[in-house]
């Protein structure tokens, strides 16, 4: 496959700096589509709720509920895919900014230092950092993130939309074959929330790719100027982010296994009992993934702050 993920995340050095971001435009358009799908599901749910309060047949309410769940989850997945596209645009623009810094910084130096900054570990205003003569190699987690974001996003979207199609089938079987419909609804929930977990993991890997780009780009700039390369060490927030991401994904895999089991025993006491706690379990998994994403964003803010401070230091002190 000629197209590599590296080409997707890092534009050419000569790419047009002024060009508006297509990822931003496409991402926001896709987000609007997701919102439209969620609105359709909202209307359907209002109707279903009203029918339920009026005491009409459980089959009718169940049928509406079956495809409404699938559509709502697909709507979320669409907006999350949009977020993924916009994050990809952010990665690319970080590299465009790196090229701009490389091009401009040599001319902006206000003084030149006679000696290089000392090497080794030191405590910066943003946390522990290291000073080396060459740019550090990418960390394993950054390399993994660069490889995994695309497959995760793709698998997530496929699973969620497969679940959507199955939800329509389940809705159609509510009256004709209630046991089959119950089984299918269990599969819908398990498959779609595994897909949601993979999508959020893809978003997490994209955030990891952003962090990798900030680290690598900062190293490239300093090395290109022949300066001591100062690099922020991985903060605790980044380590906890990775842990929460793995925990969330494992929980989503566990809930998929749970739904796969109850899909084989529709209409039994086990089905009712398991369904009751599998719902909160899958939401707990999403909660862990989202909490990890908060920490990733906090790490990005810290890394950017370190970078700006370093650029300012280079301009004013020349080292």
């Amino acid at each position: 496959m000629a197209l590599t993920f590296g080409a997707l995340t890092r534009p050419d050095a000569e790419s047009e700096v002024r060009a508006p971001s297509r990822h931003r435009t496409i991402g926001l358009s896709l987000a609007a589509v997701g919102l439209a799908l969620a609105t359709i599901s909202l209307v359907n749910s209002i109707v279903a709720g009203d029918l339920a309060r009026q005491g009409v047949s459980a089959d009718q309410v169940g049928s509406l509920g079956a495809w409404s769940f699938g559509l709502t989850t697909a709507a979320f997945a669409t907006v999350k895919l949009a977020i993924g596209l916009i994050l990809l645009g952010i990665v690319r623009h970080i590299w465009v900014r790196v090229e701009s810094v490389k091009a401009s910084l040599p001319t902006l130096l206000r003084s030149s230092a006679s000696d290089a900054a000392p090497l080794g570990e030191f405590e910066s205003a943003f946390g522990p950092a290291t000073a080396t003569t060459t740019a550090p190699k990418p960390l394993l987690i950054h390399r993994l993130a660069g490889l995994m974001w695309a497959p995760m996003l793709a698998m997530g979207v496929m699973l969620v939309y497969a679940g959507l199609l199955l939800s329509f089938a389940a809705a159609g079987n509510v009256t004709a074959d209630p046991a089959l419909s119950s089984s299918q609804r269990a599969w819908v929930q398990g498959v779609q929330f595994l897909g949601e977990g993979l999508l959020l993991s893809g978003v997490s890997f994209l955030l990891g790719t952003i962090l990798g780009a900030i680290r690598a780009g900062g190293g490239e700039v300093q090395e290109s100027l022949g300066l001591t390369v100062k690099t922020l060490r991985m903060p605790t927030t980044a380590k906890v982010f990775v842990g929460l991401m793995m925990l969330g994904l494992m929980v989503e895999i566990a809930q998929f296994a749970g739904y796969a089991y109850i899909a084989t025993v529709p209409g039994t006491a086990d089905y009712a009992t398991f369904s009751t706690w599998l719902g909160p379990l899958r939401e707990l998994g999403l909660g862990a993934l989202l909490s990890g994403i908060v920490l990733a964003l906090a790490t990005i803010a810290r890394a950017l702050g370190f970078q700006f401070a370093r650029i300012t230091q280079i301009i004013t002190s020349g080292r």
Partner: protein
């Protein structure tokens, strides 16, 4: 500070770096407390789900099961509201770092400081974030009121529990969708800020130092 004078971006001119604006300062303060709230709410929602499952398995009181069916999602979605708020505040914090840092670099280089004014996407991000938070909390409050009423012995609400549950779930879910779109807008604003910075950096060498 004087009015914007560029045709490609709406900027503020100043001789010194401008710090983060009010939404960005709020973001810097509140992302961590919101995350903490979320981390506390999620296990509570899960624990209520486990308790409800035990009652279902043991053939427990229908009213208690119905009440927990409302209180559990209420607690869980307090968590979701808090974690989405934390994400939004963290994005605002990043925008603040870009704004302040970009100004500091220009000031250090001795150039006139140009600071990007908040783009339309950032205003939409803030507005949609506030709206979606209120929508989710409306669903949460609804669930909590119905759950508490059923637990308090309301037979009318018990009879209509399923219908109310479907409605409040719909309200919560549209709130989540709105929040995700708000986050997309916030991230889109980061692209705008990065794009402006990349262009501005290339302009600095040609400008005379102040």
């Amino acid at each position: 500070m004087s009015a914007s004078f560029r045709s490609d971006f709406n900027v503020e001119l100043s001789s010194r770096a401008l710090g983060p604006n009010l939404p960005q300062r709020i973001g810097r303060l509140l992302w961590a407390p919101m995350l903490l709230m979320a981390v506390m709410a999620f296990p509570i929602g899960f624990a209520i789900g486990i308790a409800r499952a035990n009652l279902v398995a043991a053939g427990g009181d229908a009213a208690t099961i119905a009440a927990l069916g409302h209180l559990g999602p209420a607690a869980m979605f307090v968590g979701f509201a808090a974690v989405f708020a934390a994400i939004s505040f963290a994005i605002a914090r990043i925008l603040g770092v870009l704004r302040a840092g970009g100004g500091e670099v220009q000031e250090a280089a001795g150039r006139r400081v140009q600071t990007l004014r908040m783009p339309a996407s950032a205003w939409a991000f803030i507005g949609l974030m506030a709206m979606s938070m209120m929508v989710i909390l409306a669903g949460v409050v609804g669930n909590a009121v119905v759950g508490a009423s059923i637990a308090g012995g309301s037979t009318d609400l018990l009879a209509q529990s399923e219908g109310w549950a479907i409605w409040f779930e719909a309200v919560r879910r549209i709130g989540v969708a709105l929040y995700l779109v708000a986050i997309a807008l916030g991230l889109a604003s980061i692209i705008e800020a990065l794009r402006f910075q990349a262009i501005r950096l290339r302009e600095l060498p040609a400008e005379a130092a102040g």
